[in-house]
Amino acid sequence: MHPAAEFLQEKFPDEVVEVMEFRGDTTVVVKPGRIVDICRALRDNTRLSFKYLSVIAALDYHPQSPRFAVVYNLYSHRNHDRITLKAYLDDAAPVIDSVTSVWSTADWHEREAYDLMGIKFKGHPNLKRILLPQDWKGFPLRKEYPPRGE
């Protein structure tokens, strides 16, 4: 198993839901509640050293439930490996804590996830639309949003 997955299972036994392996990628599904603690632990562990956040992807699995998920892909320059964290969010009001305090680069990733998928990040310093105009209605990457205009 990926050392980071082992580390999380040991350190956060109540938070880790599942560890998945697919095509060499390891994904750890965690509960959304303590995401900031989990991320900080992965960053500050000297052996794992995930000091770099590659991407935050917001996913919509409509019509499945739970519908929304947030995916964090982390990179370790020390070991040259990656780990993916995934948290499923509530259907009606998808909210998760912001990880901007762990990696500054999360700022724009989270703004984009908010702008296009409507996921709220609690504690984000400046959570407003980033790509679309501020007065835009709706969240285009949600599955019910039409791919082209009327």
Binding site: R23, Y52, L53, S54, L59, N73, T105, W108, I130, P147
Partner: protein
């Protein structure tokens, strides 16, 4: 006589920079707060070139996403398709034949040189030096010609396919590429002589836009931007894909504390390293197939489509229904000319991606970083 009290005006001024017209490079609007000529605060406004590529990908087969991916970074068209193809191939669990891998490397590294040349020309132009642009574009044009030769396209070659390449290299390509590889280091000296020790150039780049190593990691910098700050990281070397482990090359690092001049030096050296990789790939170019031998992924040869009913059906099905990766999610990143370019693709087992998330290089640039548009710099230098 009326006494007029004169007080120095101490309030700051807000200046709106841009948005630049789409035909100029990088459409961006920045709101800057100025105290005289010094920047106090800067807030960038991006999104002027947002085209909804991620949403568009969900409505078409994997192959039909390729023209969209070419446009993510239009200065390095085929490199974006490179990343997308590798991600879908990872989903499928396949590896393309060695010859295709080498040809992909040749095109990708030539594209890197072209992208860096564009940066060099326009960067110098923005700082008031007109001449380097003409030299840089002279060589870039030759790379465009090579792309055109291989695929018919210049900015958007659309040459890579899921499972390999659209076609083998045309006759004469290797010779023409050799010509370029041999003369490029000589031409490179022209740019070097124009700028590297140029007093005005140094005056405007040394000590400007300083980013420490820690800041660079924290703000998600990658590629030459991060290496300029001393982050020793290159995905081609550290997580090799497409046979990069077969080539001998160095990863240049910034020699000074992460300023614009340091990033300039890194990119300059990278061009020579890319040239070196192309040279080795041309030397060692293996013979063999250029796409995987799997009827569920590769199109049949065109001659057979016109003469054989089974091949016609096969062609039709692949175009209409597309390749069908198994259910799953993967992330794959490559070293694009400007940094880490990654795709996170969710497959639901059908011929169309359920979700494509592109990790553009821009995401990591952290233009929102107050340290990047460095406050307390002169407006003209930033």
């Amino acid at each position: 006589m009326e006494q007029i009290e004169r007080l120095p005006r101490t309030e700051t001024m807000v200046l709106n920079v841009g948005p630049q017209h789409p035909s100029t490079h990088g459409v961006l609007r920045v709101l800057v707060e100025l105290d005289g000529e010094l920047i106090v605060k800067a807030e960038p406004d991006i999104g002027y070139l947002h085209r909804g590529i991620e949403k568009l990908c969900e409505g078409r087969t994997y192959h039909k996403c390729l023209p969209l991916t070419n446009r993510i970074d239009y200065l390095a068209g085929e490199v974006n398709a490179f990343g997308f193809c590798l991600t879908v191939e990872k989903l499928l669990g396949i590896e393309v034949p060695k010859r295709a891998q080498y040809i992909r490397v040749i095109i990708a590294e030539l594209t890197r040189i072209a992208s860096h040349l564009f940066w060099l020309g326009t960067h110098a132009h923005d700082l008031g030096a007109m001449t380097p642009l003409f030299y840089a574009f002279r060589e870039r044009e030759k790379i465009m010609d090579l792309c055109e030769m291989a695929s018919g396209g210049r900015l958007f070659p659309l040459y890579f396919r899921i499972g390999g390449l659209a076609a083998d290299l045309p006759e004469g390509f290797v010779e023409k590429a050799w010509e370029f590889v041999k003369e490029f280091p000589e031409k490179w000296k022209d740019y070097d002589r124009l700028l590297t020790e140029n007093e005005i150039w140094k005056e405007r780049t040394v000590g400007v836009g300083v980013m420490t190593k820690e800041e660079a990691l924290d703000w998600g910098w990658s590629g030459p931007m991060a290496r300029g700050s001393g982050v020793d990281w290159d995905l081609r070397r550290d997580n090799p894909y497409s046979s990069y482990q077969d080539f001998d090359f160095e990863v240049p690092l910034g020699t000074r504390e992460g300023d614009t001049y340091s990033r300039y030096l890194v990119r300059m050296q990278e061009m020579l390293q890319s040239n070196r990789i192309v040279r080795q790939a041309l030397e060692k170019l293996p013979k063999g197939d250029i796409k995987v031998d799997d009827p569920r992924i590769s199109l049949p040869p065109k001659e057979q489509v016109y003469s054989d009913i089974a091949s016609l059906i096969h062609h039709f099905l692949l175009i209409e229904e597309g390749v069908k990766p198994p259910k799953g999610e993967v992330y794959q990143a490559i070293e694009a000319p400007k940094g880490e370019l990654g795709f996170y693709i969710v497959s639901d087992g059908t011929g169309k991606p359920w979700r494509v998330k592109v990790r553009r290089v821009m995401d990591g640039l952290g233009l929102s970083n107050p340290a990047f548009i460095k406050t307390e710099h002169l407006i003209a230098d930033s």
